[in-house]
Amino acid sequence: MTRAYAQDFTTKELIAAFIAHQVRDGERVAVGAGLHVPRAGILLAHLLYCPNVRLYIVMTFTNLLKEPRMEPFYTVTDFRPAKWAEAYVLHDDFQENPRLVSNMFVVGALQIDPYGNSNLIGVGRDYHRLSFRGPGAVGTTSMAHYVDRYYLYVQSHDRRIFVEKCDFISTIGWGEGGPDGRRRLGLPDNGPIYCITPLCIMDFEPRTKRMRLKSVHPGVTVDDVVRNTGFELIIPDVVPETEPPTVEELRVLRERIDVEGMLRT
């Protein structure tokens, strides 16, 4: 199949399309309120490729195929999208079996280390005298543990975020690395798949489980990424550009999902 790629799109739209390709039909997928780009990507997958995805939105489950437009919502407690609900979910139900809420998950971070371990607790050597207190782990520790696939996602790419060593780890990645980095900790092998930033996509080299550049977004050089990453990245000989959204993807994004244009800013 030849894909008709779009010409004119923003990095946020590019990332949304990349995330859309991570979703698998029939799965449960949690759709957050705060992270607009992943939310748009998941909805895009649903409308184009995954009609049977079970969307977890504002603590309800639903299917939005028949909705001509997704009205935006900004908080996980906005009750208005519950008009679409097929089921209500108690928040504490998630802890009974997190896989019943989502098969994939997107984890944000204040700090990320070369093995994809990440931190939402705060910044500072001494936990009792933090220089920056973060918001806390939310449900990331547990969701990342239980889902099949998790993704690190940050809204900026700089040396404060990508650090040699996190001050604290709230969500375990590939531990201290190596082919059995997680198994040595007694954990299943479901560490982060990709780390998604405004500059690039990174994956984890299978043997060392160190972060590796996978693709750069249009207009970004490998050097831009290296300069803004506080640890040594694995750089393959050839680094392609991140695959652009198709014409169809961009149309559906703009006409049905991102009607307010948040991804165009």
Partner: protein, 299 residues
């Protein structure tokens, strides 16, 4: 021979009088929705101190206000922020960075482990997620242990048992049957864990109304009911009103002046105007104004 049911309705003053210095209290809702604010503001008015506050799994600016007002010694929650209103709750951030607030660090999974252990009267419940992270270091109450069945490393998350849970819901009858609109978030977990529960509601409904839809009864046999229309303001109330975005921004600006610049003036002014000077919940609503309130309806 008295054979009539006893009404459990009290007002927010009596409710807040149940809360004493040093208690462990739980406050329901979720980030920007469904907090029993009439009771929360009354707790601040009474000047209660040294509370251990169990927030929702993810806490919001209601808790931030309590922290800023000096009521809280220790906080149990997995998140403190206001979503797009502010990434990290300002008075929380300030208090932690200044070493004035103890945080029982956890993620939402561990949080529910602690509540379940309390409800089940167990010393702990186990959890797997968190092995390899900093949680057992920064929260030494959470221990790593070897499970007696398969020998795996697990976290033992100890029980945290609230003396009183304060919950917000849409409706209740006078006898302690409570009906949420929407899911009720994690409120049931707080109710199960707590010794006593007070529920603040938008409306009291007749028992006959409860019996028409028992499936909607989310909590039964709670200890007291407080009626407070618009009682979650400035936060949302499913089925009634959305959050007051302008008011939340006003709060965030006031609290951020302290968190970022050490200027406590704007927060103190907020506290005076919206909490200390109005003597009752009704007085608070007068300060907000009916025009603002009726502009917040959900549709």
């Amino acid at each position: 021979m008295v054979v009539e049911r006893r009404s459990l309705i009290i007002d927010e003053r009596e409710a807040a009088s149940w809360i004493r210095d040093g208690m462990t209290i739980a406050i329901g809702g979720f980030i920007n929705s469904s907090h029993p604010m009439a009771i929360v503001r009354q707790i601040i008015r009474r000047g209660v101190r040294d509370l251990t506050v169990i927030g929702p799994a993810s806490g919001g600016l209601d808790l931030d206000l309590l922290i800023g007002a000096g009521c809280v010694r220790k906080l149990v929650t997995a998140y403190m922020g206001g979503e797009h209103y502010c990434p990290v709750a300002p008075m929380f951030r300030a208090a932690v960075e200044r070493g004035e607030l103890q945080v029982w660090e956890c993620d939402e999974g561990m949080y529910y482990c602690a509540l379940r252990a309390a409800a089940q009267r167990l010393p702990f419940t186990p959890w797997k997620a968190g092995i390899g992270t900093s949680f057992p270091d920064v929260n030494p109450e959470i221990k790593v242990f070897t499970d007696p069945i398969k020998g795996e490393p697990l976290l033992a998350v100890p029980a945290i048992r609230p003396d009183i849970a304060l919950i917000y819901a849409a409706h209740a009858d006078p006898y302690g049957n409570v009906q949420h609109i929407g899911t009720g978030f994690g409120d049931r977990a707080l109710w199960r864990a707590a010794d006593r529960t007070i529920v603040q509601v938008e409306r009291i409904i007749p028992n006959e109304e409860v019996r028409k839809n028992p499936l909607a009864t989310s909590l039964y046999g709670v200890d007291a009911i407080v009626r407070a229309p618009y009682g979650s303001h400035p936060f949302a109330a499913p089925g009634y009103y959305i959050e007051d975005a302008a008011h939340l921004r006003e709060y965030v600006a006031a609290a951020t002046a302290y968190a970022k610049h050490g200027d406590r003036g704007p927060f103190e002014a907020y506290l005076r105007k919206y909490v200390l000077e109005p003597e009752t919940h009704a007085d608070y609503l007068e300060v907000i104004g009916i025009k603002r309130l009726i502009s917040l309806h959900e549709y």
